[in-house]
Amino acid sequence: MDFELSEEHRMVERMVYDFARNEILPSIREHDRNGTFPHELLPKMAAQGFMGICLPVRYDGAGMDFISLGLLSEGLEWADSSVRETIAVHLGLHALPIFQWGTEEQKERFLPPLATGENIACFGLTEPGAGSDVAAMTSRARKEGDTYLVSGEKMWITLSDVADRFLVFAKTNQEEGTRGITAFLLERGWAGLTTGTIKGKMGVRASNTGWINMDEVPVPESHRLGEEGEGFKIAMSCLDNARYTVAAGAVGLMKYCLEASVSYARQRRTFGQPIGDHQLVKQLIAQMKQRIDLGELAVRKVGWLKNQGMRNTRETSMAKWYCTESAFATASDAVQVHGAYGYSDEYDVERHLRNSKSAVIYEGTSQIHQLMQADYEFGNRTDRPLRCEMPGYDPEFWQN
């Protein structure tokens, strides 16, 4: 058993945190205040290879492993959740599913522009009336010749107004429930496809969140991902990727909150001493560190399972549930340590608190994850083998 990061991982970690400190932090507060998307970061992230960090070099990725994806997510969310969300969605919910489920022709065609950031991609599963209850979706697709006509509305879609590639899910068979769902790869500019942005979010204001409207969008058969009726399995496997980045990102958010709290508790004095000398403040600091250490262990274990090519749905769900709830508690405690100043956006901890609330809702609410964990224990839920499993990390394949 080895809990140490490799030298390569430590270098990735340092580089990502340097990037976050130098490129994201200086401008993210203004983006958050104004609710603007930091478009200027995308070419910088692409130049560093972030957009395809764990895709094989043969598809123009950086050829790194899943631990590196976790470290990237952690470092980006240390600065702001919105930037990590871009990686979670673009890579975890769009590019990696193509790598897992796509034909070789689809991988060679679609992955390189995603890995280099030439295309930015999103994922459309949630609908106005269907979130965790995926079977309730009303988006539908009917086939005419070798073309599908896709209609429906997707809601709460990260990057909807920024992306030019869309992985969306629609029912090709209305009678079959989740087994009637099929996945499609749409492109901006296609007839009948429109997008918009949702305003007034509590947090992740520097991320773009919106809707996708599809009105009889013609989708060629070459853009169907997987088989007809395989969409639900594809969607759930996508979540195994994205939930991992969400959990890792939550660890980064907690690390920022702890660093800020320790620094503030050293400087701020009350009753003649630094507040860090007060026992109840020490307790808050200790609890933050406890959550970080446990969360990091959960995340690293999932990264290891992914590298081994072992199914990790249960462990990923656990890490996501624990880390996002811990991040919400930690950010709240960090605001508490900062007192009144923490309640103002002069300090970053209030932004982290607002951001942290979103992650206990998306990618499966905490309640869904608790149901999942209980169902595993009662034997009501087992993970059956998939037609296309995500392969384990093989440096020979990934780097050549």
Binding site: M11, V12, M15, D18, Q48, G63, R266, G276
Partner: protein, 263 residues
Amino acid sequence: MNIIALVKQTPDTAQLSASMDGVKLSAEGGPRIVNPWDEYTLETAIQAREEHGGKVTALCLGPPEAADALKTALAMGVDEAVLVSDPAMAYSDSLTSARILVAAIGKIGTFDLIVGGRAAIDGNTAATTVQVAALLGVPLVSYVAELRNLDPADRTISAVRLLEKARETVTSRLPALITVVKEINEPRYPSLIGIRKAARASIPVWTCADLGLDATEVGSNASGVEWQSELPPLREANIEMIDGGPEDAARTLVDRLIEEKVI
């Protein structure tokens, strides 16, 4: 071109852990980084190689863990890296460090250009690179903010020096040693492909024996300067109340700000 980049590993001053009373600085066990000025060193050397071809060798004197700084240099794109490290070299002052570096440069072989940072953020003497140039007998162009013309064929370098109240353009023959300031470029981040290569690289470590140096020629015994202690600068803050009406108070305030060289 054969380019040597002088790199030092330093404590991360942004993360020095001050004790609760704020009077002691602790670098022991804290994170260590590439001296921030040397990030500009590395970028300058790599850009020169990219433009003129050749090879960049990063050279670092320090404890074994300083190999991390050289890994960063490799990940940024230097071709080779050498660590000079020997327990006997500990506590060398800047002149002794310069002598060691000159011995290592002699072992690397011929060079056209040596690049260093304007100072290291730990000792902040800005002396070692100057002494290296003097011991090698090559021209020194310090505080370089811009490379106007680097001409390996003509064996000349033209650079703009950033001085306190002037920018000075200097032309020197090659080989030369330049020290750079942060205005010269924007250092790149290590690339992921560079990180993969660097993590696999084995960095040679040269000891006193490899450099033909006797243990008595290096380290604290050979050094004239000894560092007693390192403390954060004292911070003096006063509150001064200005009496009088708004106009008089404003006038006094402006006078005081001018006096204190704030405006």
